[in-house]
């Protein structure tokens, strides 16, 4: 154990807190992490706040207001290593669905005095505003992957976070492909691995929670969905989930708008 424990801080933007909770959900491993690092700022776990600089900053949530923009720039300066966690921070999240609409229509509808609402046109990933050292995908993130990244950073080694398809994980597990054997449309072939191929393991198609994989090529998959009888509109909605604004998914959903 290093004499001086690295300081880890967790910050949140527009998000549901689910990714931070993955860390609390790590149970036994959490105690080990708490022993190995100094939790400098983690509102979900403790009120104690230690002053910057921090060795590792974990950021959850998307940037949606002018104030967020200022704050993320400040936070970037506080951390040596900045890791974004979850679909909101890495792709804009489910709230990025508003990027296709006029946000003022929403504020008028939801708030009694919309003139007090100061918001940006679009919900964007953290990486659109500041340099990000590592992006941990998922909605929510996988707690083992989070531990792996923290662990790798502590041990100064490369994290084992593959960026290939969900299909590979599916095959490593010995699953029977739901797309081929059950004609269930599945986003696995265009989605980055990380969840352990949970949905196909339970007889459902992948929802794309971990966003586009490396070198992704959605158009042929969409054509296959069409051949399987899916309507264009349904295909558009498939890509418009938690990672709707990730470029490859965004383009593919837009290609199916009409």
């Amino acid at each position: 154990m290093p004499a001086k424990r690295p300081k880890v801080a967790v910050f949140k933007f527009a998000s549901c807190d689910g990714c931070q909770l993955s860390l609390l959900d790590a149970e036994d491993a959490l105690l080990a992490v708490a022993g190995a690092v100094e939790i400098a700022n983690f509102a979900e776990a403790s009120r104690r706040v230690v002053k910057p600089p921090y060795d590792i900053v974990l950021v959850e949530g998307s940037i949606t207001t002018p104030h967020d923009v200022e704050r993320i720039r400040e936070i970037r300066k506080m951390g040596k290593v900045l890791i974004t966690i979850g679909a909101c921070a890495t792709a804009g999240g489910i709230q990025a669905l508003r990027n296709w609409k006029d946000v003022k229509d929403f504020t008028r509808l939801v708030y009694a005095s919309p003139e007090y609402i100061s918001t940006l046109d679009r919900s964007m990933p953290v990486g659109s505003y500041v340099h990000v050292d590592f992006e941990l995908r998922g909605c929510p993130i996988n707690k083992n992957q989070l531990l792996e990244v923290v662990n790798a950073a502590l041990n100064k080694r490369k994290p084992n976070i593959p960026t290939h398809s969900v299909c590979m994980e599916c095959k490593l597990r010995g699953n029977v492909c739901v797309m081929v054997a059950k004609q269930i449309p599945c986003l696995g072939p265009v989605t980055q691995v990380g969840c352990g191929a949970i949905c196909p393991s339970y007889n459902r198609g992948c929802y794309g929670c971990f966003g586009p994989m490396e070198n992704t090529n959605p158009p042929p998959l969409s054509r296959q969905f069409r051949a399987m009888g899916k309507e264009r509109h349904d295909i558009m909605l498939m890509y418009r989930g938690f990672n709707a604004y990730a470029e490859a998914f965004r383009k593919e959903s837009e290609a199916h708008e009409k």
């Binding site: 792996e148 502590l154 041990n155 290939h164 590979m168 029977v176 007889n203 992704t216 998959l221």
Partner: protein
């Protein structure tokens, strides 16, 4: 050659178990015929068949009680001999160094593979060359392989994506088995013609009720297997194919495939000869305990070709080309055979139905070289 009646087949499983084997065989699971532990003949896919096409697979009920009237499914035996994940060693900090604890090979199971098809025998022979017959040996593979017993089953019907006939690997098993069975169902009979392939096979058969096969029964099996051969789902013209592919390295078809290929790696995962792996090093939080794990990898991933200074294959075009030319061309130079045994798995289990036989044919028919096949 001998005859074992259906009612006596259980005796073979029992004999294998009696010899200390973990028997693995085909069984219906999750809408497919997969490989699993086999304790009884009743667990075999009795009365089932499969329907396979490019990008689609399904199982259907048959009108009869056949035990082996289907072809290869999503799993292959490599899952057992070359597991998808394997801990290679663990290391524990001790003083200034490490104590290394290698993966145990002494306690590995002795497998009996029950129902190995002819193309799969060829695939196992190919992996043998790679993992244990060359200069470097994979100890884990070798231990499992050397102790494994193989009960082959000849294909009395062939699947929609099979092309073993083209690859000269089937549908009849010629070597590489301890026993080979052919299921015969005709004239109210249901029995198995058994060929003995090794002393082990012979001693196993001694423990099962059997009789000598009559000449007519042997001829009948020849006829059944010949009929299967004539119904191959696909064909691949292998004549001078290695050269044809080499000469067409810049063929526009590769780009055309890249527009259809997802780079998802399913083809390599299901292929019974694909043998690539990567290693991942993990530590505990303190860094005192480390492990090295091996897991299946694929030439379709970006990391696969990442080296200091860059990546050799950044496009799907170059990745698919690498995969197919390795299977059907470079493999010959490297290992003396093609890397494809014509099992059709990559065709069936490709989510978008890309067909290696169709792609190779398209390149040959529109060859850019002077040599035309």
């Amino acid at each position: 050659m001998f005859i074992v009646e259906l009612s006596d087949l259980q005796g073979l499983i029992t004999a294998l178990q009696g010899n200390g084997y973990a028997v693995i065989g085909p069984t219906v699971r999750d809408g497919a015929i997969t490989f699993d532990t086999l304790n009884s003949v009743d667990e075999l896919p009795r009365g089932w068949t499969d329907v396979q096409e490019a990008g689609s697979y399904g199982i259907r009920r048959r009108e009869d009680d056949a035990l082996f009237a289907y072809n290869v499914g999503p799993h292959s035996w490599k899952k057992f001999l070359f597991p998808s994940r394997l801990r290679l060693f663990a290391a524990q900090k001790a003083g200034k160094g490490f104590e290394v604890d290698p993966a145990p090979t002494g306690t590995l199971p002795r497998y009996a593979f029950f129902g190995v098809r002819s193309c799969e025998l060829a695939a196992i022979a190919i992996q043998d060359k790679i993992f244990m017959d060359g200069k470097y040996t994979d100890k884990h593979y070798k231990t499992l392989r050397k102790s494994a017993c193989i009960i082959a089953v000849n294909c009395v019907r062939v699947g929609g994506t099979c092309f073993c006939d083209s690859m000269n690997t089937g549908p009849r098993a010629k070597a590489g088995f301890d026993l080979a069975l052919t299921e015969v169902m005709a004239d109210g009979k249901h029995h198995f013609l058994v060929e003995v392939g090794s002393p082990l096979g012979k001693s196993l058969l001694q423990k099962v009720t059997h009789r000598e096969a009559q000449d007519a029964e042997k001829v009948q099996v020849d006829r059944i297997l010949k009929a299967a051969e004539d119904k191959m789902g696909r064909t691949l013209d292998t004549q001078k194919l290695p050269r044809v592919l080499q000469d067409n390295f810049e063929h526009p078809r590769w780009e055309d495939i890249a527009k259809r290929c997802l780079s998802c790696a399913n083809c390599t995962m299901v292929c019974p000869t694909c043998f690539c792996s990567t290693v991942e090093d993990v530590t505990d939080l303190t860094g005192d305990h480390a492990e090295r794990w091996r897991r299946w990898d694929s030439c379709f991933t970006t990391d696969f070709t990442k080296v200091a200074g860059g990546n050799m294959r950044m496009s799907t075009r170059t990745r698919y080309r690498q995969w197919m030319t390795h299977k059907l061309s470079n493999w010959v130079e490297q290992f003396g055979t093609m890397g494809c045994v014509g099992c059709g798995r990559c065709i069936t289990w490709c989510p978008v139905g890309i067909d290696i036989t169709a792609e190779a044919t398209a390149i040959r028919e529109n060859s850019m070289s002077t040599l035309n096949g």
